[in-house]
């Protein structure tokens, strides 16, 4: 028998992911072996430590450009930049997830398996500390996201997609308050998410049939010199795209977004809005730029139509919303449309501006959801828009920060929102996609309306008896809010360092 030839493994390049997966496994053991009282502190420190260590590992790798473990993982500029930003955004979401000061026991239910409304449930609703499983789940999910943006063949991409999604489905069901809504959100996210990944998988099968292999470089060559039926190519590309567009919440695959964002615990919503979006677009960039750039003239108009549809749906439906979390969900759908405009520029500028947009939007949306966790009444978070009326009079600092974030979403100059939109629109014009920019500008104006309506509501209404109070944030939430707001200002006033970083990173290896 011949000797097996094993592929070389560059452990250094894989270190960021290995750290996260290792820490998540340790986290599960901690769950078993430590007493309940000290668990929260240990789990939170372990998760934060793992994310920071992984971030340091990414920084040490910043010059690495390699393809390792038999072509399954590509470590290149976009991978490292997106991994770094995922870890930075993940760290801030962990701070929100770890908050235990605002509400007794924190935002997560103690035992999610207990039937809602039973005697036991009423007892645990009172004061039992929240589940700490949420930390290992978050770290697993982050690890999956890191692998998702690095995946260099379609199988690795599918596995990473599942590793990042499965923990998120569970985390959606863990809210302490309004548990029925939370479970319903988890059910919807799970059913639609696995439906979309089944489409992704069938697409992988078709592309395997077309290209004779699943490595993205093989697909690239097969696209350039096709030997099999084009039906396999276009069918496969369409099905794979459905899977990715679903994760990125682009119309018409956005329908789950508002429901899931509203029902999930707010810190988890923040994680989904910031990190999942980065991961999904990272994978979409790699698929379109590395594997399928040979048929760019065929998919550009289709995805362009999807981008326009997404921006219109997000902007128009945001106007009609009456719930703060749903409004932010529709705004995140519209923003996904703007990111897709950057992706469709299909040049180096498009790649770098897309990555910039993802980071800028991620920090702003984390701060926005962080503030949503603070505005509360006796029943938990008060998310109905009418309840926010007059909040500016009662707590000017928080309302001021929220106003600033909304202005950033609307794309007012001197905020990161303006710089990011400017960058993606500039790239799209350069890439010959002016029609997308026209729609982008029109929908930005539409989208400014719901934001400004909230600003008016905050500052120009009189506070009433029922205006909820703003809780005093604990250290963790304060830190998350400060990071989010400062990043939003900094990327608006001095964006140059990050833009340079994205430009240096904007080169895929094949």
């Amino acid at each position: 028998m011949e000797d097996l030839k094993l592929p070389g493994i560059d452990y250094g390049a894989l270190l960021p992911m290995l750290i996260l997966f290792g820490a998540a496994c340790v986290g599960i053991l901690v769950e078993v072996f430590t007493p309940r009282r000290s668990r929260n502190v240990i789990q939170l420190s372990l998760a934060l430590l793992a994310v920071v260590a992984s971030f340091v590992a990414v920084i040490f790798q910043h010059d690495t450009r390699t393809i390792t473990i038999g072509g399954a993982v590509a470590i290149d500029g976009p991978t490292l930049f997106l991994q770094g930003s995922l870890l930075a955004l993940g760290l801030v979401s962990l701070l929100l997830i770890g908050e235990r000061q605002i509400e007794r026991g924190g935002p997560f239910v103690s035992q999610a398996a207990i039937t809602v409304g039973s005697q036991k449930d009423l007892r645990q609703a009172g004061d039992q500390p929240g589940a700490t499983e949420v930390y290992p789940l978050t770290v697993f999910s982050l690890g999956g996201m890191l692998l998702f943006v690095a995946a260099n063949d379609l199988l690795t991409m599918f596995i990473a997609l599942e590793v990042l999604s499965l923990p998120l489905y569970l985390m959606c069901a863990l809210a302490r308050r309004r548990r029925l809504l939370s479970q319903e959100a988890a059910l919807k996210y799970f059913l639609l998410g696995s439906y979309a990944s089944a489409f992704f998988l069938f697409g992988v099968a078709l592309i395997y049939g077309f290209a004779g292999g699943i490595a993205l470089s093989q697909v690239h060559e097969a696209v350039a010199n096709p030997e099999r039926s084009q039906v396999l190519l276009y069918g496969g590309l369409a099905l794979i795209a459905i899977g990715l567009l679903f994760k990125a919440a682009l119309a018409p695959f956005h329908v789950w977004t508002p429901d899931v964002y509203q029902g999930a615990p707010t810190p988890v919503t923040a994680l989904m809005a910031a990190c999942t979006k980065v991961a999904a677009f990272g994978a979409l960039l790699r698929i379109l730029y590395v594997a399928f750039d040979g048929v760019r003239w065929d998919f550009q108009p289709v995805l362009g139509t999807i981008a326009v549809l997404t921006m219109l749906v997000g902007a128009v439906l945001a106007i009609t919303q009456t719930d703060m979390k749903r409004l932010l969900a529709y705004s995140s759908i519209a923003n996904a449309g703007y990111v897709l405009v950057g992706v469709l520029a299909l040049n180096e500028e498009g790649l770098s501006s897309t990555m910039f947009y993802l980071v800028a939007y991620g920090f702003s949306v984390l701060a926005a959801f962080g503030i949503v966790t603070l505005v509360r009444d006796a029943d938990g978070e008060a998310t109905h828009l009418a309840r926010w009326a007059g909040l500016g009079r009662k707590s000017p600092l928080v309302a001021g920060a929220f106003t600033f974030i909304l202005l950033a979403f609307a794309g007012i100059p001197l905020t990161s929102g303006f710089t990011a939109k400017f960058a993606v629109f500039g790239a799209a014009v350069e890439g010959g996609q002016t029609w997308l920019v026209v729609f982008g500008v029109i929908t930005s104006m539409l989208l400014a309306f719901p934001y400004l309506r909230v600003v008016v509501l905050l500052w120009l209404s009189e506070p009433s008896e029922t205006t909820p109070t703003v809780s005093i944030p604990g250290f963790l939430t304060s830190a998350a809010l400060v990071i989010g707001v400062v990043a939003t200002i900094a990327l608006g006033v001095v964006p140059a360092p990050l833009i340079d970083l994205t430009r240096d990173a904007a080169q895929f290896v094949r």
């Binding site: 999610a112 398996a113 039937t115 809602v116 409304g117 199988l155 599918f158 596995i159 599942e162 499965l166 489905y169 569970l170 069901a173 029925l180 809504l181 479970q183 319903e184 959100a185 988890a186 059910l187 919807k188 799970f190 059913l191 696995s194 439906y195 089944a198 489409f199 998988l201 069938f202 992988v204 099968a205 078709l206 395997y208 049939g209 004779g212 292999g213 699943i214 508002p258 429901d259 509203q262 029902g263 009609t320 919303q321 009456t322 749903r326």
Partner: protein
């Protein structure tokens, strides 16, 4: 004997699964339809593996089986917790989140 028939069968199974998710109402049945889609993909992978003369497709289908098993664990946990509260696994009853 030509392997093309297996591809046609895979496509038919996938379509049945995809249509089933859209028309059925019970969460468990929906879930089974999704599993049917995954297995249709497996059949296509194995057939292409035969056509291409490489083992990749068979290896992928093993990975898919593991992923499907993990999905069952998560999915049934979520469906069970909802069923215990509502005494119903119909997706039409889960309608608190809208507009």
């Amino acid at each position: 004997m030509t392997p093309d028939y297996y591809l046609v069968l895979a496509a038919i199974l996938f379509t049945i699964g995809a249509a089933g998710v859209l028309v059925r109402r019970n969460a468990i049945v929906l879930f089974m339809c999704i599993e049917l889609m995954l297995n249709a993909a497996n059949l296509a992978l194995v057939t292409f593996s035969r056509i291409n003369g490489s083992l990749d497709g068979q290896i992928i289908s093993f990975f898919v089986m593991v992923v499907a098993a993990a999905e069952v664990v998560v999915g049934l946990a979520i469906i069970m917790s909802i069923f215990r509260t509502r005494r119903s696994a119909s997706v039409d009853d889960a309608n608190l989140l809208k507009y």
